[in-house]
Amino acid sequence: MAGTTPLLEVDNLHIAVQVADGFREVVRGVSLRADHGNALGLVGESGSGKTLTTSAIVRILPAAARITDGQVRLNGEDLTHASARRVAAIRGKEISLVVQDSLASLNPIMRVGKQVCEPLLLHHLVNRKRAASRAADMLRSLGLPDPARLTQGYPHEFSGGMRQRAMIATALIASPQLIIADEPTTALDATVQAQILDILARLNRDMGVALILISHDLAVVSEICDHIGVMYAGRIVETGSSRAILGQPMHPYTQALVESVPMSGLPRGSRLKAIPGEPPSIEAFPSGCPFSTRCRHATNICRQKEPELTARNEGRVACWHAEEIANGAGSRLAAVQTITAASIEGADPPVPRQPPEELLRVESITRHYRVPSAWPFLPPLHIHALDEVSLTVRRGETLGIAGETGCGKSTLANCLLRLADVDSGRILFRGHDITNIRGEELRRLRRYIQPIFQDPYGSLNPRQRVRSLVAEALTSHGTPAAERENRVIEVLQFVGLGAHFADKFPHELSGGQRQRVGIGRAIAINPELIIADEPVSALDVSVQAQVINLFMDLQRRFALTLIFISHDLRVVRHLSSHVAIMFLGKVIEYGPAEAVCTTPLHPYTAALLSSVPGISHDPSTGRLILRGDPPSPTSPPSGCRFRTRCPYAAATCAEVAPELQRHENGRMVACHFPGIASEFIGSGEGLGGRHQSVVAARQA
């Protein structure tokens, strides 16, 4: 370590942020190093200070934040005290930034090409014309098929994946030595996320650019980083090689993070090791070890004194009990593997002799949205949100619905909830046709079907107290007041909120608490079916695990029938007995969860599975990385809608739309070549090579 000057060295960085009554230190002594060819991952939940830290490197801090101590050195030069002009000269040229939200990060009214080549012009590296051609080259090299069109277009005209590539192109164009990628894939679909991670990995590997990758998702970081730092409450609490962090986490927080992700290895329905509580708010870090309030190992010393980051084994950790924990926990990886083995053998749900009653039956419903154009008097756009979707849900089942943005899963939820009308088809609930019921009849139906929404902020009326929110359905269906109050308390306690929460307003609650209220509201009236639309995707990782556990408690305790919608196949798989995979308004595969996730029949399912960033992934194996982005739902491709992205598409795919057909074991798939991709998934090495050759062949 000593001797050579590292490319970037962050030394004991402190950052304070102005809050209501003064400054609060939110980054407290962070030290980092990054070197050519290295990839450093920073992991932490919201408020951990990871973004502030990296912003401080290039000195682009929010107005309220100040660097109070420490240094950032680039090739030995202190950037924290350099002139603004000097820092500007370094930005974009030596250090580039790729951030999360590509739509917000691109100037909406400037052509993409101009934005991509702006660093060249700002640093006077080449002339205008040359810069433009360099921009096109760069975009092409990132695998964008038609760079000329992209450079002439505006950001909103392109998909998230293309925009993110444009951002990367911008970061790369002046050949910087270091790229800082801050949650570069967070808002992207799984298949696109895989593409972007692939690009970043190659940059680092092949071009030797130093990389700092920031994410809340340990899995994502572990995909490409050789070194990982875990941040909590403004400090790095553990750092070490990826392998060590994942395999032998020493800090209880790291451990919990590793365990709170529902990975493919965990048996379905097993409880996740969720961290209790929520990440501390910057307004008030706990005293002593900030994690002590959530730590099951915490002792008095933890609550009194904050541990230093000290070297241990290969890495460094800041925990009073690191040694015991590391020893006690043993190799988690091994444990996981054994569990996996066990679960695969015995995981198949006990097939009931007598299939339970059909609770919900959906018969080829179709829903086309008319989206009014942004301007008045122009014809509306038609979005093929749902196209002849059929499903059956039996009592007690949990049906998981997975798919990417725009696949129609939320529309499906709204149609089933009868919050949206269908254009054709039938919906039967307990044998009754509820497709077109209205008024009082519809209102009565609500008693039996309840929703849980994604956005814990938007779905609670800010003007209602928790009590009245939870009691809403009860009130609407005439439950007497006394009974109502009892039920509210009961429900609140069940979802893990005390009775005293009844008097709070939503804005007084944290995200996790809100989502618990959302769940409590849904179960208060004892519905027969709950439809949950992305209920955990807006939550922090550790909180997400708590809520998933809550869902499992629900299933167990109330024998609920649940439709669980998520873009995250990990979560779906963990919770569901059955899964339906949707693509562009169609269900393309359906079947028992475990079967679908282990032996996907549809190439798209395979690709989704393959793109899940798995901690246990062996970076050397290839992945099925799909080309491009999902096609527009306003004009779906002919034939099989997946064919434009399918590595296996044949001529017939363009002509004939495959029907959803029965397969063995109650599985269904809509593909002309079912199982064509699943060969690879199960059979270990060698797959990657073949995938890549197939992909390469198609792309050529």
């Binding site: 951030v99 702006e118 942004a374």
Partner: protein, 343 residues
Amino acid sequence: MITYVSRRLGLLVPILVGITFITFMVSRAIPTDPVVAALGQQAADHPNIVAAYRAQWGLNESLLIQYLIYMKNLFHGNLGQSIYTHRPVAEDLLSYMPATIELAGFTILLSVFISVPLGVLAAVKRGTVVDLLVRLLTLIGVAMPIFWLALAGLELFYFHMGIVPGPGRLSPLLNPPPRVTGLFTIDSLLARQWGTFNNALAHLILPSLILATWTAGTLTRMTRTSMLAVLPQGYLNTARSKGASELYTILRHALPNALIPVVTIVGLVFGDLLTGVILIETLFSWPGIGRYAYEAAIYADFPAIIGITLVFGVTYSLVNLGVDVVYARLDPRIRTAMALGRR
């Protein structure tokens, strides 16, 4: 875009019909005898003149028929005769319009030149004394009774200090330039009459400054708000991360984005401006539609009032249409939405 514009123009028709209908009905609600009002006393004593007039405007018919007749005449460019000026309303409107356009246009220009820098400054220096000052000033501007400000301004700057010319569009000693557009500044430039140009410009300054206290107040506030909304945007940090200086970031990335919503406000501000024009033109002897409107209201000159509401309504609608078009030109997102919509 063309279809869009023509659709919007098509929508003007019901608006105009609505405007004329309402004003027409209001005008018939007053006890004034339209014959006496329009023809004057002498003519009102001559039965055949009265009869001819009643026939022309269908005064013996029902109100609805009268309205239809009015619309028919309107369609032929006949807006009736002003009770106050005794001239055809259409002719009056045409002769007064350029003065108002010149004043309003200059005011808008002036407001934009004042507001944008002020608004940007206040937003960038948010929370500082500069910001506070700008906000106070703009609030005062918005709250100012401009009829009072106009009087005080004339008294002070013209009468006592003599640093601006007096009321009117041009010094009485100068002849107006040969009429091309009717805007003295432009016409004098076209005719290369520099003295006249300077004089016309000098006459514009005080009235438009006073008018601009309103519009600039609103615009500055909007610019500030809009700029504050843009400043935290990610793409500014992107620009900085590319190595852009703060000034470059503000001017090239933040400002263009911040100005887009401001453009739509210009359309709204224009409505206020029409109100202000009535007061300012009256106080500044500015021979425009505003003063005409004032006289018309004082004399319940309804033929003129209908004409003025029409002109104001059309102008307001057209300006807002123009604003929307400019808005679309400026914001590629809207453009795309329109293109998609057409398909």
